[in-house]
């Protein structure tokens, strides 16, 4: 009874994002940004003062996550999603700045849902609490900025077959 699961490579184009529908199970590969509360606050401070972000958000997907330390010989430690709603306040501005995908757990605000539709973006649900499983899907990690925030820094990670479910799509639909 298993349906075939679609694979998508990140960063993805607006065209690819437009074809994603809520409820779809998807395996993500490629690279994406990682950031949570602190990164969002810093991004907003920079945008509000007219400064450049440390990374271009165009076509990027961001994973709301702060990793556990990597065991010896491993790329990353336990690394599952954190609660997305804490990022809601900052999200519309980032979507307007080019961000196309977000990965986290839990529902989002109406304002985010509208910004997702307006920008042709996607919000993916990642399996909450499944940090050990996700650690097996990450093959590289690089700190891009805000190193002082430790696990809350801005990272870029390389991923392969990273399982998610589309939870909010560009038509304005949501299953969370």
């Amino acid at each position: 009874m298993k349906n075939s699961i679609r694979s998508i490579t990140l960063p993805m184009s607006k065209k690819i994002a437009a074809g994603i529908r809520v409820g779809e199970e998807i395996l993500l590969s490629g690279t994406m940004l990682v950031g949570r509360d602190q990164v969002h606050e810093q991004f907003q401070l920079l945008l509000n003062s007219g400064k450049e972000l440390p990374v271009s958000l165009k076509d990027e997907t961001i994973f709301y996550m702060g990793p556990a330390p990597a065991p010896n010989g491993a790329v990353i430690g336990s690394c599952g999603p954190t609660t997305s709603s804490r990022m809601d306040l900052f999200t519309p501005e980032l979507l307007d700045a080019g961000l196309i995908g977000m990965i986290g757990k839990g529902s989002r605000s109406q304002t985010v849902q509208e910004a997702v539709r307006r920008n042709g973006a996607v919000y993916f649900y990642a399996f909450g609490g499944c940090g050990a499983l996700y650690a097996q899907k990450v093959h590289s990690i690089e700190c891009i900025a805000f190193q002082e925030f430790g696990p809350e820094a801005l990272f870029r990670i390389g991923i392969k077959d990273f399982p998610v479910i589309a939870a909010m799509d560009s038509t304005g639909a949501s299953i969370l």
Partner: protein, 287 residues
């Protein structure tokens, strides 16, 4: 001659308990998850895949010896001190803290505690301080109940000061409203701790104590066992389901703890544990 409960004894057992709790789920919770898996598959729910991934994740964590969830929490410790326990009281917190401090880096756990909640949100770097509660109980043993409390679920806690006449309907509605507002945020299927009575703060504390009960047990008083069942049924009719994707298992269990209260009120505190219900119990001393 009495054998002393030593500093090293406490430290070592806390170290083992914490390190194990982050990686291996206790058997009662795993069994409840397996039951949930069967129910969700049968219902053909969207949340069925979530339980499948959770079970896969538990196997991976054990195999790779890494924490099941990156939020290895703030450590919550209930210390029950036997009035006749052969112990140096000032050792207890120090030994508990040392055990935690050593377990976190050794287990590749994330340090998730900041020094000041408002002005200096700097990581303390050792996941301390823990949240510790002490209680003097009869006997000569020292009991430590430890929980790695994640904050996705903690942020969904709630307190309602009900009227004394609100009755079970008032309680059921209040708890259901808190869980409904939480939706998928606390990583369902959750365990719901409900503290009723005392003062506002005591009701919250009782709700945390309730989370330490065995997920598969039943309240010893039939009236409360019945109330636990009614609340659970109501919650599971919300169709929040695993991960919030929809399904029949929003909660695996509801646990109630009660105490006497004032004639003018009925405090109801609600604490939530995510499915990664990481708890351990240590008993030291003579049996």
């Amino acid at each position: 001659m009495k054998k002393t409960i030593s500093f090293e004894g406490i430290e070592q057992s806390v170290y083992e308990a914490v390190k194990n709790a982050g990686v291996v789920l206790s058997s009662d919770v795993r069994e409840a998850l397996q039951e949930a898996a069967v129910k969700e598959e049968k219902a053909g729910s969207r949340g069925a895949v979530v339980i499948r991934k959770i079970l896969e994740n538990l196997d991976t964590a054990e195999k790779m010896h890494i924490p099941m969830c990156q939020d290895t929490g703030m450590v919550l410790v209930f210390v029950d001190i036997g009035a006749d326990a052969p112990i140096i009281l000032s050792d207890i917190d120090k030994a508990v803290n040392t055990g935690i401090e050593t377990a976190y880096p050794d287990g590749f756990f994330r340090n998730s505690v900041v020094k000041d909640p408002v002005f200096q949100r700097e990581n303390t770097g050792n996941n301390l301080p823990a949240v510790i509660y002490h209680k003097i109980v009869p006997g000569n043993q020292l009991t430590l109940q430890i929980m790695l409390k994640g904050f996705g679920s903690e942020n969904c806690s709630g307190l309602v000061m009900l009227n004394p006449t609100a009755g079970t309907k008032g309680i059921i509605d209040a708890v259901t409203m808190i869980i409904s507002a939480a939706g998928g945020k606390p990583c369902p299927p959750i365990i719901v701790g409900v503290g009723i009575g005392g003062t506002a703060d005591r009701a919250m504390l009782l709700s945390k104590r309730a989370l330490f009960r065995d997920v598969l047990d039943k309240h010893p008083k039939s009236s409360y066992a019945e109330l636990e069942k009614k609340i659970l049924l109501k919650i599971n009719n919300l169709n929040i389901g695993p991960g919030g994707l929809g399904g029949v298992t929003t909660a695996m269990a509801v646990k109630i703890e009660v105490e006497s209260t004032h004639i003018a009120g009925m405090p109801v505190g609600v604490s939530i544990s995510c499915w990664a219900d990481r708890k351990q119990k240590i008993v030291l001393g003579e049996f």
